[in-house]
């Protein structure tokens, strides 16, 4: 369970280009299920996800994960929570160039110091599940958009997080690939993962797999469905 109360986030505070991305968000997210944050660009939905996903701290307000207040944690501990709880799929996938798909999947686990062989087997198993086993040894930059996204999903799952966060997952995909992505999301949901997505793609928001849609506008919750 993730709870936000009066969360605000400001960028460039005190300067002429000061910008309030979030202006006081109260939100209650239960574990399990698929939630979509919907809203125009600049509405603060991505900022909200970075806050929920422990990528950044709110300027003010409280965020609690389960029983724990995480709003005042320094980056060192946020990272600790983040890498065991959240997996991220970024809009532009953000794979590292020059190394193989397999290595890309393994990267988030390097600082954890697990056994290298076991990690590799886990990464291969994930790629297999996403039907990417034959591309495991391909360099990341040779992959197509859909393939790159699946590698990114495998990477998000490598540390076995409870929550998967996807930022505009279908923005770079055609309809067919978008549908495939939603199938993967359905699979994650069946596995008991919580999926949080931002999107302004109606295909995503209206998909049957989605349990809840939360609208955002100008840094405030606009309406929940």
């Amino acid at each position: 369970m993730i709870r936000l109360s009066q969360v605000k986030k400001v960028f460039n505070q005190g300067r002429h280009n000061e910008f309030w991305a979030l202006r006081g968000v109260d939100l209650h997210l239960d574990m399990g299920g698929v939630t979509v944050f919907r809203g125009p660009s600049g509405s603060g939905k991505t900022t909200l996800l970075t806050m929920v996903g422990c990528l950044a701290r709110p300027s003010s307000g409280r965020i609690s994960l389960g029983e724990r207040d995480i709003s005042a944690l320094p980056e060192r501990f946020l990272t600790d929570i983040r890498r065991s709880t959240f997996g991220f799929v970024f809009q532009s996938f953000n794979l590292l160039k020059g190394i193989t798909a397999l290595e890309n999947v393994m990267i988030p686990a390097y600082p954890l110091g697990g056994d290298h062989g076991a990690l590799k087997r886990r990464a291969l198993a994930l790629l297999e599940r996403l039907e990417m086993a034959d591309k495991a040894q391909s360099q990341a930059e040779w992959l197509s958009g859909g393939e790159a996204q699946r590698v990114a999903i495998a990477r998000a799952l490598i540390n076995d997080p409870r929550v998967v966060i996807a930022d505009e997952p279908t923005a770079n995909l055609d309809s067919e690939r978008s549908a495939q992505f939603l199938d993967i999301v359905a699979g994650l949901k069946r596995d008991g993962k919580t999926v949080l997505m931002t999107s302004h793609d109606p295909l995503v928001a209206d998909a049957p797999v989605v349990d809840r849609v939360i609208g955002l506008r100008d840094g405030l919750i606009d309406g929940a469905g």
């Binding site: 505070q13 701290r57 300027s59 003010s60 005042a72 944690l73 320094p74 980056e75 501990f77």
Partner: protein, 338 residues
């Protein structure tokens, strides 16, 4: 001043280390005054980011100072050839009143930096950085020691003049050399030295074991570690070195570092110093375990440090025994307990 690469390197290293630390001082003051973890403001986030830089810098200072310590002693030994009457590092360090103080200050910097890093390590594991103010106050306190070490070292090197032939006069005017007198430490009776060493080593190992078993007495372990350092050094000077040299009246803490003695000294000093640093670290971590956010992780770190320090002390004791065992010198024929 003597103009040679090792001296230039040492002076340079001290200067850079001092510069790094002094450059961190304004930040340390800022932490003392403005640190507020509950704030998510950008200025607070900037402060937090800075802590990584300072910690890295102190790590570099520690490594550099440890290396400089070795280089300093090594070079002092090498320079013995330049001074009439100097046989090894002791002679070189006595050429000038600043020699030994420079060495002691360098040792102090090494240990203080090591303690600070333990403090830093412990603090970094507490989600609210409970020791952050203590840590940066300690850093401010460390700075003058580091500066003093650098300056005293500089004064020492500046005061050095090699006894070389001058064209005007005969060699006999270049002074009668240094008399290396044995001090009171060297005069410590062998029986006393070895019994004290065995006793304190046993005590420090016991206190470590107590901490491992019952999680108590971490601070006592730290204090005993410091005692072992003192007793260990005294025992090396008065007795262990004698066994290595196999000469009953040669009490030198430095010659054992030389190649002639297979650099055996490192096998003594390294575990002794490391054991002390880790032992005191145990005390720091154990004391910090009382804080809320360190209640769980503090004892884990302290246990690890205690174990490591015990290992070091055991190695030190083992090396001492080994050296006595393989020595051809017999100091205790018909010893009182036989």
């Amino acid at each position: 001043m003597l103009f040679q690469p090792a001296i230039i390197a040492l002076v340079l290293a001290s200067a850079l280390a001092a510069l790094m630390l002094v450059a961190s001082l304004p930040f340390a003051v800022a932490v003392l005054r403005r640190w507020d973890l509950s704030s998510g403001a950008e200025s607070q986030v900037r402060l937090e980011k800075r802590t990584y830089l300072v910690a890295t810098l102190v790590k570099i200072v520690l490594v550099a100072e440890a290396a400089a310590l070795v280089l300093f002693v090594f070079n002092a030994d090498r320079m013995a050839g330049l001074f009439t009457g100097a046989m090894c590092a002791v002679g070189t360090l006595k050429v000038d009143p600043f020699g030994f103080p420079a060495l002691y200050l360098k040792l102090a910097v090494f240990f203080l930096a090591a303690f600070w890093l333990v403090l830093n390590h412990v603090d970094n594991r507490g989600w609210d950085y409970p020791l952050i103010r203590v840590k940066y106050a300690a850093l401010i306190a460390l700075a003058p020691v580091l500066l003093a070490a650098g300056l005293v070292q500089l004064a020492y090197f500046l005061g050095l003049r090699a006894d070389v032939i001058t064209s005007c006069c005969s060699t006999l005017f270049s002074g009668n050399g240094i008399t290396v007198t044995s001090n009171s430490v060297a005069a410590l009776p062998h029986v006393w030295a070895l019994s004290l060493l065995a006793g304190t080593l046993a005590a420090v190992l016991a206190s470590g074991a107590v901490y491992l078993r019952w999680g108590r007495g971490g601070v006592i372990h730290a204090v005993l570690s410091l005692v072992v350092l003192g007793v260990g050094l005294a025992a090396i000077i008065s007795t262990i070195s004698v066994y290595v040299y196999e000469m009953p009246h040669h009490h030198c803490p430095f010659c054992i570092l030389k190649r002639e003695y297979h650099h055996l000294g490192y096998a003594l000093y390294l575990p002794l110093f490391l054991g002390t640093a880790l032992g005191v670290g145990t005390g720091i971590a154990a004391a910090a375990s009382r804080l809320v956010s360190l209640r769980a992780v503090g004892p884990v770190i302290a246990r690890r440090l205690a174990l490591a320090s015990m290992l070091c002390f055991a190695v030190f004791g083992g090396v001492c025994l080994g050296l006595i065992w393989r020595s051809h010198l017999i100091l205790f024929e018909g010893a009182p307990w036989q």
